[in-house]
Amino acid sequence: MKNEVIKGLFRENPVFVLMLGLCPALAVSVSLKNAVGMGLAATFVLVASNTIISLFNRYFPSKIRIPCFIVVIATFVTMVEMVMGAYLPALNQALGIFIPLIVVNCIILGRAEAFASRHKLLPSILDGLGMGAGFGLALTIIAGAREILGSGTFWDIRITSAYAPEGAMHPAAVMVMAPGAFFVIAFIMGYMNWRKAKKAGTAV
């Protein structure tokens, strides 16, 4: 049981290992606030859609099950859009197009097809939680690196003002722009490969 949740965090992390959901992972991880917000939104949609699909799978005709899954997922994404638009306008503004794009997030459709449609309710919920947490964790790690290096803040608290008011270290603005995202994820993946190689005892 616990394994279902844990596997989504590291061993089968959707972003770093399965390489799904890369678009929001790189685009949204400009600051920690955005990353956590996106992680929570995606986890909600994932758990909710896993629940519905696991419960009602036998009523979906097999030939059109993918469009049926998409309708279920899109419904929950529309709910998230509406709630965010009403209660969290700043986050809505920051995440922009990537909230409706949760519906094409490969992770959610992938888990629906590969897991929720073949397992009972409780394992599906746990799998959703695990994968969602893994996605959120990946986003948080990338966002942490980019925010600290790129704007010198941590959760909007300036941390580089040790010796001077505007900061002794000037942040590297490229980190919060497009290239920085690619570099950060490259080195995180490289680090994970290196760890895996060391564990397996092979030469690096």
Binding site: P67, A74, V104, C106, P179, G180, I185, N193
Partner: protein, 217 residues
């Protein structure tokens, strides 16, 4: 005419979908290992993006948006103002269903009418359905997400935008595949082999493409 050319350049190079907007990354990393595959994927994406943005724009203008030519307003309008017929909250669901159906129809059509093209596109066509890039271009045509994007005001500009986005995708994925083919012959540190070095190359390409900013002025 000139503004369409600028629109095309802007969306293909300046606001490139992969390197500037982060849309379409999964196929970018997954399919860019060989030049032939990348070219095939690129052309399929151009095809799907152009059609999807055209069709979804039409559906938005005539069914969802609270404008004068909303079909529901014209049929059931009566005395109510057009703004009562605002169905834009259904945009996400309607667009993704439109795209999925469209791709399915295109696949069936190609299988019957132009089999060689169907064979050439192979598995890429269904893969493009749940692609951020296609859904992204459809959404960007009708909603402003603060991406400094001009909303499409006419059918032609929608088509140009969809086509331009696809061409931008093709350029980048083809360049990337060329680089990766060369990378296979070099000595890359073991930990960075595969996806990491591809991302580093993408980052360098993104840096290069940032040089296009300001071309529209």
């Amino acid at each position: 005419m000139q503004s369409y050319a600028l629109l095309f350049i802007s969306i293909a190079l300046v606001n490139n979908f992969i390197l500037a907007k982060f849309l379409g990354l999964c196929p970018f990393i997954g399919v860019s290992k060989k030049r032939k595959q990348a070219a095939g994927m690129g052309f399929a994406v151009i095809f799907v993006m152009t059609m999807a943005s055209a069709v979804s724009w039409v559906v938005y203008q005539y069914f969802l948006a609270p404008t004068e030519h909303n079909l529901f307003y014209m049929m059931m309008g009566g005395g109510r103002p057009a703004s009562d017929f605002d169905f834009t909250f259904l945009t996400t669901i309607v667009f993704i269903l439109v795209i999925a159906t469209l791709v399915q129809l295109v696949e069936m059509f190609l299988m019957k009418v132009i089999p060689p093209l169907y064979e050439a596109l192979g598995i890429y066509l269904p893969l493009i359905t749940t692609n951020c890039a296609v859904m992204g271009v459809a959404l960007l045509n009708v909603k402003d997400f603060g991406m400094l994007h001009d909303l499409s005001t006419s059918f032609l500009s929608t088509v140009v935008q969809g086509f331009g986005a696809g061409v931008g995708f093709l350029i980048v994925i083809f360049l990337m595949s060329g680089i990766r083919e060369k990378l296979d012959l070099l000595e890359v540190p073991q930990a960075l082999k595969g996806a990491p070095i591809a991302f580093i190359c993408a980052g360098l390409m993104a840096l290069a493409f940032m040089g296009f900013a300001g071309i529209g002025q």
